[in-house]
Symmetry: C2
């Protein structure tokens, strides 16, 4: 089954907002095993929207439109889609009631405009919106399906997950996918290591993709039922795990690298502290993404200046003078100092040159040292990152998480990394 | 002149990456006064790409394609575009030389594939790529223009700004725009305050857009030359400034809110320190986005636990026990403690409940206190933010920057905020 996305909104055409809805919908459709060959963005314009929808219906089985379901005159996605599908609009009583309740609950009064949102195409499936007033709509006609979703992500995402995905997966063959997430192995290296598997893939398929110091392999199986699909996935996931060993940090869709690190800390009853120079709080900020991190996170120090490094982290004046703030010694002393000051078992320190200024021939922009101390055992690594200031800082944060994970694993299980790599 | 964007890449169709290139290009094209009615995403597929480009050329004057200029066989944007435009490819000697140098500099060897990137359509304008091996391409034919850009944002952005924008602005009528950036005023309030201006706008036009605690008004004038355009803009920008007074933090395109705050600190010879609980380093991280922040940033403390708040920031045990970690008192003591520990003139502290857990009826998720101390004068504000954990933290960081700005301005010039609001 093929799917096509049409995102409606002038703010997208003007570049005022980034089209995160398209990425969300595309990823979910891929998970469902739907093939997507086109995404289009159009404005709230009857003629262009109608033309775009007609073109999409010619070449795809399912067309998902997002945006333009609001109460104002500008919003015309539903009206145009109904017209293209040859369906008349009528007042949908349950939707009218929901909108009425929505406003009552908030002590607000609905305006005349709002009732427009309760007008539904005849014979359509109406999908409840738990976070707003615009219901979703599914229309079917001659094997083609048109799905209308509200534009705000906080309405679109839950509606798609709860109301649309079950519908689509029922319409499609059973698809089940699992992602094997790998860190600390470069993209091309990782792909080379599984080239033979990818080359001979049929069912399941293996799709690699790289993101910020990580490589994710999505393994997708098609089968008659979920049990069968899972059976097909199992040996492939197992093979990937065996090839990448400890570089696999999870096979759970919802587990991020920072969550894997926090889970590892929790499992080993460890607390953690951060000392940051060039990343200036971003590493701590990323750990804090994980709900419940308060159980393991002790405290963090942002020591941008030499003075702060000395005063807060007890970095030696001699090291700063002789080796410079961006050096193996200073990274080591920062980690040590953070561990001492916080009394956390794990301490990680980052010092580097994020640019655009401050680089020299000997110490160019992108040079970063990361140190990790686990119960007094300290490891320091030197990195040369490329890209602009933002990219260097982002890569530093990911690399620090990877180093933390590695150091904890090595300390607790005497794992050796990269045996096969 | 109309423009249309075609972003090429399977990773976009799979939702593996978010299409930030489209938002960047759309915004820049709007700045240039080009009208954009369509954006399309297609994969690296000859037939579909060719079809998409032909459709785009029928309805738009300029088509900008991004992605698919890499060295592998999959990358076929240039080959397809040249074919559609009826142009043959030939080896472009300066590009070949640049690619050779690119690899030499990095002590790497170019592979056979890389020379494919130096093949250029006959008669095309070749645009240098300072950050990668794929040059940009401009083709003209019968009044239509096709522009090819590399996919990676760190290559696309500088190439577009340096190589393409001057080209496009020469081809278009003179368009000049300026953005008035406002903080600390809600979106609907801000729009209401200038409704009369927007309603009667013709030239210049005023386009408002809201982003994360800020409202930006883009004022765009069309004229015969730049001088004339600037003359048209001036009174409108002046009027906006007078209506929003000190809430206007800049009219410079490149100045972010964090840069405005850092500039304000620098101008007043102030240093700053941060103490963060629920934002856990994100506020410091955002200040660190600004190159040269090292001149003003003293040190930062991430005190997630009560213990850390007491030990590092000297928050009173009594305050924590009686009022709780998320309270006006604790925010105030955190700011005071950070100022003492760092000896910075300005200290800002954030404590709140980011969720998803930890909320109570009395202190729900989204309750945040932010305190700012300027030379000992402390102001504390209470906020109720909505959204998920990430959104609450992001809004807290922006609100802290706005409060810092306000406190510094009030301290130094006895400005009163919101006089008219």
């Amino acid at each position: 089954m093929t799917v096509e996305l049409v995102c409606v909104g002038t703010e997208l055409l003007l570049g005022n907002i980034v089209n995160t809805n398209a990425a969300f919908l595309a990823e979910k459709c891929a998970d469902l095993g739907l093939s997507c060959y086109y995404q289009t963005v159009v404005g709230d314009n009857e003629e262009r929207l109608s033309e775009t929808l007609k073109t999409a219906l010619k070449r795809s089985d399912v067309v998902i439109l997002s945006g333009g379901l609001g109460p104002t005159k500008d919003d015309l996605t539903k009206e145009v889609a109904a017209k293209v599908m040859g369906k008349k609009l009528h007042m949908h009583e349950p939707s009218r009631k929901r909108i009425e309740d929505f406003f009552k609950k908030r002590n607000l009064e609905a305006t005349e405009n709002n009732w427009k949102q309760a007008m539904m195409p005849k014979g359509a499936i109406v999908v409840d919106n738990e976070n707003g007033t615009a219901p979703g709509v599914i229309m079917e006609e001659e094997g083609k399906k048109v799905i209308l979703l509200p534009g705000p992500p906080n309405e679109l995402i839950p509606m798609f997950e709860k109301g649309i995905m079950p519908y689509l997966s029922k319409k499609n063959a059973t698809i089940y996918s699992q992602t094997v997430k790998i860190c600390g192995v470069g993209e091309s290296k990782a792909e080379t290591m599984v080239k033979d598997l990818i080359d001979k893939q049929t069912n399941p398929t293996i799709a690699p993709y790289a993101k910020n110091c990580e490589v994710h392999f999505r393994v997708t199986a098609k089968a008659a039922d979920e049990k069968e699909a899972k059976k097909l996935l199992k040996p492939v996931v197992k093979e990937l795990k065996s090839r990448f060993e400890n570089h696999v940090y999870t096979t759970e869709a919802d587990t991020t690298l920072e969550k894997a690190v926090v889970d590892l800390l929790t499992a080993n009853k460890l607390t953690v502290s951060t000392a940051e120079s060039c990343t200036g709080g971003m590493l701590a900020g990323r750990l804090m993404n994980v709900p419940g991190v308060s159980q393991v996170y002790k405290s963090g120090y942002i020591t941008y200046s030499n003075k702060a490094k000395r005063k807060i982290l007890n970095v030696k004046k001699g090291s700063l003078e002789k080796k410079g703030a961006v050096s193996e010694e200073v990274a080591r002393e920062m980690a040590k100092g953070a561990a001492m000051a916080s009394k956390a078992e794990v301490a990680v320190a980052v010092t580097g040159i994020a640019g655009p200024d401050g680089g020299t021939e000997e110490k160019p922009v992108g040079l970063v040292y990361i140190a990790c101390s686990v119960c007094g055992k300290i490891k320091v690594k030197k990195y040369h990152f490329s890209g602009n200031r933002a990219k260097i800082r982002e890569t530093s944060v990911s690399s620090a998480l990877i180093l933390m994970r590695q150091c904890i694993l090595e300390y607790y299980s005497e794992v050796t990394f990269g045996k096969k790599l």
